[in-house]
């Protein structure tokens, strides 16, 4: 069941009514309903993997209790590693086994040995990377005595499988979400309206901007041999916009949906394409994953303490793992490595925490210097996205070599250029709204303070009209569902 489907809207309406009109009598009822709805939502994808989700949930629930009850450090470690091992094991089998098997066979073949790797014909369970990371953060927090183990299995299960975040995040923390699940929710008008507003903007980003950019990005990446450097560059820009609008659109819908149920989820994006350097970009892109890696990988590895080589090593590890998290492909690892290379000079010159505030705060326009910095950062990310989007490393290099060829200075292919001209007003509208709203949690959050009701409603209606007029006629899945 995709967020951008009629089925989801009906499902949401049904659960919303039950939640606030039937289950509002008690916390247990509210949580039981959320759990049933979440499992139903997940089963709509593939009911067989529901058992995997339940098993993973039960495992973390029991190991969490065992870690807390264990008297000695040995037993605490045993239960910790059992949970980590099984969780990472599932992820490894479903997501990475084939990659390692074939990579090993390829490496061996360079030594003149032929190995036919035994690969698995498995489907990747949707959301496994996300719910596994929920569970891991919970277990690690208990082990590090940051939180108490949850005793109520229903409440814990809702934490893991709350349907808005189940398939593509944001990756929640027990410290943030569990207290909200343990507290009875009462209907909050302002929160619900804010949720609807955020969902609306998320839908616009997904169905109007991302899906239309996808058409042109797919065209250039799938048939890159046929296009000039300028066309391929345009295609890469389309992909950069597509992936941002697709994923942040999803996150906005997820966060907005959660608000309808009185629950605040973690922020996932903070206008990353208005970043003035790559360090700022990474503080604003997929925030819930970046902060997860920072807290559970970077800091335990020593973080930025220690010597120069330690810093470089840790930076590379976190970026490579971040790339690898997206999938078992060398292109994702290359994307991570390239971002590490972008980041390194900033870190080594202690400039990685310079741009912490909102760009051009209180001003309508950025300064010329800020504009150039934003543009440069965007172009760097565009180059990195070429690796992310390409089918293989060789494709990525061929794509890049065509971008950096003389054909870059020719007029882009008519089909792509025409697509750009049709899309340009929508993309400009989108970026203008994001720029104006960049001080809010989402672009149209603060619209209430600026405009009166008729104007606001006309604006929302116009967004709905643009969706109706420019959305694709087939439901298109979100990119991050594959991760």
């Amino acid at each position: 069941m995709l967020f951008n489907s009629f089925d989801f809207l009906i499902f949401l309406l049904f659960v919303f009514i039950l939640y606030w009109f039937v289950a509002n009598r008690s916390l247990r009822l509210q949580n039981a309903l959320l759990l049933i709805a979440s499992y139903f939502f997940y089963a709509c994808w593939d009911w067989r993997f529901l058992f995997l989700l339940m098993f993973s949930t039960a495992l973390d629930y029991f190991t969490g209790l065992k870690i807390e009850q264990a008297s000695g450090i040995k037993m605490r470690k045993f239960w910790l590693w059992l949970s980590v091992g099984v969780n990472v094991g599932f992820l490894g089998v479903f997501k990475y086994y084939n990659f390692f098997a074939t990579s090993f066979a390829n490496a061996i073949s360079h030594l003149g040995l032929q190995v036919n790797p035994w690969t698995l014909q498995v489907i990747l369970p949707v959301g496994i990377s996300f719910y596994t990371f929920h569970g891991l953060s919970y277990i690690l927090d208990i082990y590090n005595k940051k939180i108490k183990a949850e005793t109520d299995i229903v409440e814990y299960s809702v934490f893991v499988s709350f349907f808005p975040l189940l398939v593509a995040g944001p990756i929640e923390r027990a410290t943030h979400l569990l207290p909200q699940i343990k507290r009875k929710r009462t209907f909050d008008y302002a929160m619900a309206v804010s949720g609807l507003r955020q969902m609306l903007w998320g839908f616009f980003k997904k169905v109007v901007i991302a899906d239309n950019c996808a058409r042109l990005a797919d065209l250039t990446f799938d048939y890159y041999q046929a296009y000039s450097g300028s066309t391929l560059f345009l295609g890469a820009v389309f992909f950069a916009i597509q992936i941002y609008c697709d994923f942040s659109g999803y996150s906005d819908i997820a966060i907005g949906t959660a608000k309808l149920f009185g629950i605040n989820l973690l922020r996932n994006f903070a206008y990353p394409y208005f970043s003035r350097d790559i360090a700022e970009f990474w503080r604003r892109w997929h925030i819930s994953l970046s902060s997860w890696f920072k807290d559970y990988l970077y800091i335990p590895l020593g973080g930025s303490r220690g010597g120069l080589w330690m810093k470089i090593r840790n930076t590379f590890i976190i970026f490579l793992v971040s790339g690898f998290w997206h999938g078992a492909k060398w292109t994702f690892i290359a994307w991570g490595a390239l971002n590490a290379l972008y980041f390194l000079p900033l870190m080594l010159t202690n400039n990685n925490r310079v741009n912490l505030d909102i760009v051009a705060k209180g001003r309508y326009l950025p300064s010329f210097k800020e504009f150039i910095m934003i543009l440069t950062t965007f172009l760097l990310t565009v180059l990195a996205w070429i690796f992310f989007r390409s089918e293989s490393m060789s494709t990525a290099f061929k794509y890049l070599s065509k971008v950096f060829s003389q054909t870059f200075f020719t007029f882009p292919d008519f089909k792509v250029a025409a697509g750009f001209i049709t899309l340009a007003p929508l993309i400009i509208f989108f970026f203008v709204v994001e720029w104006i709203g960049r001080e809010g949690q989402f672009a149209i959050e603060n619209i209430k303070g600026r405009w009166n009701r008729p104007l606001r409603w006309a604006f929302y209606s116009a967004i709905i009209f643009l969706m109706g007029m420019f959305m694709r006629t087939t439901e298109t899945p979100f990119i991050y569902f594959q991760f």
Binding site: S5, F6, W20, F187, Y189, A192, V193, L196, T422, W457, A458, Y460, S461, A462, I464, F465, G468, M469, F470, M471, T473
Partner: protein, 313 residues
């Protein structure tokens, strides 16, 4: 909560009015390139408008033709007339079983045919029927079944077009529309047939491909057949001829034949009649008038042999 619900409903109403107003202006004034999600094609290809206008004055025919463009471009009602059989051709562009369901529920009783020739084109079992739904929305009457079908498509283009048509109806904008008898090189012939200007097909080679059938199209077809059978109608299923090149490029024709054979009275004319790919066709899958005449003569003979229609006179 009460405030939330009332505000939401009020907004819903306001947004709907805004949407409908802007859609109407947009549809009437903008370039087709930027209204990809609105496809109101009154009097478009296929003469559906004329067909649905004429059918209002038709009743009790001997033969009713159903199906896609293969039907309205292959079954010439004049030839059946001259064979002494009244007929009506209710074929429409890319009509799939889902749309056929709407049409037979609307017109079957009125037409009361003695025989139904149902053209079954495998391709129409492998498409969602959106194009045909849009054709019906623009050119036929809007009734509850059509509205239900439109909503079932869950397709924004269909819903926009339905709303746009409704608005035009409310303002009586198409009340005086008359479709030209000759439109897009096609001439409308009384009885629902569309005759194309005589052209000959230029050979094209098609790569091997497979029909990817939708189960729900077969389910709809099954329901249609059950309904027709329960009401005692005689039905002949016809897979109309297409060029050999096109026919042979599909790898699962036999599977389709075996499904259709289960219903009985199924004739795949690609295996029965010998036509010339160039001289008898106007394009890869439509007969030209020369081919139509050969095919219709052959079909009438077959129907007579099997006593589905009587001898002339």
């Amino acid at each position: 909560m009460a405030k939330f619900i009332s505000t939401f409903l009020l907004f819903f109403l306001a947004a709907f009015l805004f949407y409908a107003t802007v859609l109407f202006i947009w549809g009437a004034s903008t370039d087709p390139k930027i209204k990809s999600n609105l496809d109101y094609n009154l009097g478009g290809k296929g003469h559906s408008f004329s067909r649905f206008k004429e059918i209002q004055h038709i009743s009790n025919v001997d033969v009713l033709f159903l199906g896609s463009s293969h039907a309205f471009k292959s079954f010439d009602t004049r030839i059946f007339d001259s064979a002494g059989k009244t007929s009506f051709n209710l074929g429409t562009i890319n009509q799939t079983p889902v749309q056929t369901t709407v049409l037979i529920n609307r017109y079957l009783k009125k037409l009361g045919p003695k025989l139904i020739v149902f053209e079954v084109y495998p391709y129409t079992f492998s498409i969602d029927g959106v194009e045909s739904t849009l054709d019906l929305i623009a050119n036929s009457d809007i009734d509850a079944r059509l509205v239900r079908m439109a909503f079932n498509t869950k397709n924004i283009k269909v819903l926009n077009t339905l709303l746009y048509r409704t608005l035009r109806d409310l303002l009586h904008l198409d009340k005086n529309y008359i479709e030209p008898i000759k439109n897009y090189n096609e001439t409308y012939v009384k009885g629902g047939y569309s005759e194309n200007d005589l052209v000959y097909h230029k050979m094209v080679h098609y790569p091997k491909q497979t029909y990817h059938f939708y189960d729900y199209q077969f389910e709809s077809f099954d329901k249609i057949m059950a309904l027709l059978k329960s009401q005692g109608y005689e039905v002949v299923l016809v897979n109309a001829p297409m060029t050999k090149d096109l026919y042979d490029c599909y790898t699962n024709n036999n599977r389709f034949d075996s499904i259709m054979n289960k219903y009985g009275n199924y004739y795949n004319f690609n295996k029965i009649i010998n036509l010339n790919d160039t001289l008898d066709f106007m394009d890869s899958n439509h007969l030209n008038q020369v081919g139509v005449e050969k095919f219709n003569d052959f079909l009438i003979k077959l129907l007579r042999q099997k006593y589905w229609i009587g001898q002339p006179g």
